[in-house]
Symmetry: C2
Subunit: 598 residues, 2 copies
């Protein structure tokens, strides 16, 4: 075995896998995987987003999902590579109805991790390059409809004389990315968005806000940012991009449109979605409903005695207008994660007197260090130069099972702790409570498990360490008076402004608001992996709950995540919706039960 | 010599050239060129767009422009190639103030064609990739201005408390492409456009209009169309793209703004540009003025006796609203080139009774055949797959001197004539008068020489051949009555609509309108090569008059052309403007005298 090149090793393995599957021999196929192995499938075989962990589960997936899908044409793309005892390669394959792309890691000739993803449905390939639309019918056509007339007709009819196949509630970057994917697959879709214009959800935020993820991480599908786009997009710049993307991608985007309710009609297998479009009530009847209201669900606004008596401004961070009216005022910000830090820093810059109230520890990671240690290999200029395209980076990231991810990230965050020891020391000196995640696996795992609990430092931490942003730690708010906040330790802070940077509930909170408690409970908590850490109770599920995959409510889906996830997983959600529209059978394997309702 | 590989041949040649230039030995450098040779320089040495033709002129350019620019670092990029006795390669080099890229063709060891183009000015390189702006100042900055605040401030001050360095009159694709280049080079620029929104000049055209050039030819700088963009953009789709592009490229685009006059103030070395911006008169004082009003200058509207008595609709093609009001009406379209054909076809599709009046022969080229025979190697899906990027295609095209181009194109058009013989035969049968250019060099040369005289057939010719579009040939319009057109042969056609698809004057017609006759005559005719063919009188100038290069009016420039030219030549015009803004010396070599005023 060891005299075979990495390329040969991967080819051999694929040949063996293909042969075993051709013969229908699940045992032989499973024998190609180690005891400690993972098969992560994005839609292709399982019509789900799911990871089989361990040889027994892999074998079960092979028997129940892989073989029935009629796999074939397994081949290596390019060369295999080897490093540190792990041989890997990129793979192509097919099923009866689709084409796929993936990645395999071998240890001692057996698979450790296998990723299979669906790239396209046979017969429903996206038109591009040499198959791009001609754009104009050459020749002469009486009664020809121009492009504009077709778009106007579509716009006039949708929701009135014709119904979209999909309605997406929420027109932020998630809804927009998914909308673009569906457009390319010719799935009639309407995106409903409360705000007037695409990008408004960014425009309306506090003025200093910008993306904390660097540009290489943030591209939308099909139309990447140009080479000169800044590393960290200011909010208004990303808003403008979203607005224009929506236009040139020809999305049916209904701004100024609020979804008031939705109900599933089982008999007709369609949703009844009530919206108010610029003041006019309309009923949409899509087959599929996607909630893309944001990874942040309904804002968590604690109920504190005396809140209603407060004479100053009091609001959740999602409603914070920015610092402009608070120069010289006293601001108390409850919460010490991303929003809390951003808002405190902006207030301090504007000359407010700012106190941050930290109720539990925060994982702080400096932006530059995070980029160097965690992102550089995949999402950076250097990565681009080394040939790691955005697509490749997304797939490399997807190829690491969530179970394995902590062991991969822990050393990087240990290095971060060392590198920035002086910085962390100064924070601890003023009493700031730090963590690196419960198992020290760092930021991204915290994000996946609970969607919060961290701050990517872009400058606020210096203000905290210097005492410019004052700090109160280890207390809760006891009550609020007309002009102050009183804490559980008895201390009191006068305040003109109180901001609750207290996070958001699970995304199925929107399902509860729009559809009802029964359906919200039926689908259960969104996000999290079942890691048994704070806000992510077990049992272990191994994938993000309810995201981009079938839920326990027929024809209800959730889309969202950060820009990388929106970009990548919109591909798989769009394919699942397209398959259903075309009547392609989509037998789902590996649905998790609902263990938690929120 | 013949045992050296192509790579070695080009390397050897570059080494010899570099050595001779290092020594200041113009004679030795010129000896590296054949008798029949060309050095085409885009800005780098000559601060002009100019071609030295023949060894003597090459030597003169070396002595007077190349040596003074301190050339150095000549090197081959990649491999040399050889085909049909011609060895070629891509080259890099530097001057004292710039970096360059180019292309050389060698025959028997001596240069036949050399193209040198300026890519960037040292010290003023565009920020991109690893030098892209960070986007946000990390850390804390009291009095920080957000990106939006900076843009708003810029917008509020430009033209009032601060003056742009450049004003571009005309916000079509030319002005927009140039504006984007200047933005990347941090040259404060205002684009003034009469229409409200970017793209309106397309939106307002007749509804069936679409681009006749295929997508690979049409990309704008920095942000190419995505892979699924149709081959031929419908007008409204390109309009939306231009609007999006203008926004995300952060251009200072003043829609609803008409330039009423401009005058050069020699003492202060600035222009006084009067504009009316949404009803408000303003004076701009840029250092540089660019007319990007369109390769089509002021519409040619003949003066025909009786025009004013006509009771139906009468207008130039540029004002034609489309066919919608003319179903069942009698339309007479004067002119048989692109606009004439498009308009006739649209009218016929709408059920009008259409007669096309052909006054002189037209070069008709079928779109598909043109793409296969002329564009496929450079601007096509196949070209992209073969590694010919848009940049490379532009440079390959630029590397062929205009003097040589006819001999390159004539065979392709001879092939077209053969391939489509049956098609041409049917046209001739109904009396349509055809040509392939005066020397049979075809469409692109006709375009370069006179900007018109052809039709890229996308269906109208079938209607002409079938007699559905009626044809009158070889006559002129004698007079117009209340309800008809009378021709020089005495015949008369009743008409409800008369469209003069009679073309446009030279671009300096705009200079005449805005600045005055004296300056318009000083700069002279725009466009054309001096080929001695119809509308392009000699003497031979070898480059397009006045385009993208210094004119005989200080600080006045013309920008335009088709999408390929706008894209490519905006690079060189932007660099010339940037150099002047930064005070870099720009000694111009090879200014042509003005031979024709229009």
């Amino acid at each position: 075995m060891s005299d075979r090149t990495p390329t040969q090793q991967v080819s051999d393995w694929l040949t063996a896998l293909g042969g075993a599957l051709d013969r229908g021999d699940a045992a032989a196929a499973a024998a190609l995987f180690g005891d400690d192995s993972y098969w992560r499938d994005l839609v292709t075989f399982t019509w789900n987003i799911t990871t089989a962990e361990g040889n027994a589960k892999v074998r079960e997936m092979i028997e129940r999902a892989v073989l029935p899908a009629k796999p074939s044409a397994w081949q290596l793309e390019g060369e295999g590579t080897e490093a540190g005892g792990v041989t890997e390669g990129w793979i192509r394959f097919e099923t009866g109805v689709a084409r796929g792309y993936g990645h395999v890691r071998l240890i001692a000739g057996k698979a450790w991790t296998l990723l299979t993803t669906m790239t396209e449905l046979k017969g429903f390939e996206e038109h591009k390059g040499s198959t791009r639309d001609k754009g104009v019918e050459h020749g002469v056509h009486p009664d020809r409809k121009t492009w504009l007339e077709q778009r106007q007709q579509e716009d006039a009819q949708l929701g009135i004389t014709t119904q979209p196949y999909v309605v997406i509630v929420g027109g932020g970057q998630g809804g927009i990315a998914l909308g673009a994917r569906l457009r390319r697959l010719n799935v009639p879709t309407v995106i409903v968005e409360k705000n007037e214009r695409p990008g408004d959800s960014w425009r309306k935020r506090y003025k200093s806000l910008c993306l904390h993820d660097p540009v290489w991480y943030d591209h939308l599908p099909f139309l990447p940012f140009p080479e000169h786009w800044p590393v960290f997009s200011p909010k208004d710049k990303i808003a403008d991009w979203l607005e224009m993307y929506t236009k040139v991608m020809e999305l049916n985007y209904w701004g100024g449109t609020e979804c008031t309710s939705a109900a599933y009609d089982e008999r007709n297998a369609e949703w009844t979605v009530e919206v108010v479009r610029n003041g006019r009530r309309m009923t949409l009847r899509p087959r599929q409903l996607v909630l893309a209201t944001g990874m942040s669900g309904v804002p968590n606004m604690p109920s504190v005695p005396g809140m209603e008596t407060f004479k100053g401004d009091l609001h959740h961070s999602s409603k914070h207008p920015g610092p402009d009216n608070y120069t010289g005022k006293k601001a108390v910000v409850i919460g010490s994660n991303n929003s809390g830090h951003d808002i405190c820093a902006a207030l301090w810059e504007a000359g407010a007197d700012v106190t941050m109230v930290q109720r539990s520890s925060t994982h702080v990671a400096r932006s530059d260090t995070l980029m160097e240690l965690l992102l550089a290999g995949l999402y950076s200029e250097a990565a681009v130069k080394a040939g790691v395209t955005t697509d490749k980076a997304d797939l490399i990231f997807a190829s690491v099972p969530y179970k394995v991810l902590p062991s991969l990230h822990a050393p990087a965050f240990a290095e971060m702790k060392k590198r920035d020891a002086e910085f962390y020391g100064r924070l601890e000196k003023v009493g700031f409570r730090l963590d690196f995640g419960e198992d020290d696996s760092g930021l991204f795992l915290k994000y996946l498990r609970r969607g919060s609990g961290y701050y990517i430092d872009v400058g606020a931490s210096e203000l905290v360490a210097d005492g410019k942003i004052k700090l109160k730690t280890g207390v809760e708010v006891d009550r609020i008076t007309e002009r102050s906040v009183v804490f559980t330790d008895g201390s009191e802070l006068p305040a003109d402004l109180i901001v609750f940077a207290t996070g958001y509930g699970s995304m199925n909170g929107w399902a509860k608001q729009l559809i009802g408690k029964e359906v919200a409970d039926k689908v259960g908590k969104c996000w999290g992996l079942g890691s048994g850490t704070c806000n992510d109770p077990g049992p272990w599920e191994g994938e993000l709950r309810n995201m981009w995959k079938p839920t326990h409510q027929e024809a209800l889906w959730f889309h969202g995540g950060n820009l990388h996830q929106s970009r990548h997983y919109s591909q798989f959600l769009a394919l699942q919706l397209k398959a259903r529209m075309e009547g392609i059978p989509t037998p789902v394997y590996g649905m998790e039960p609902v263990y938690h309702v929120s």
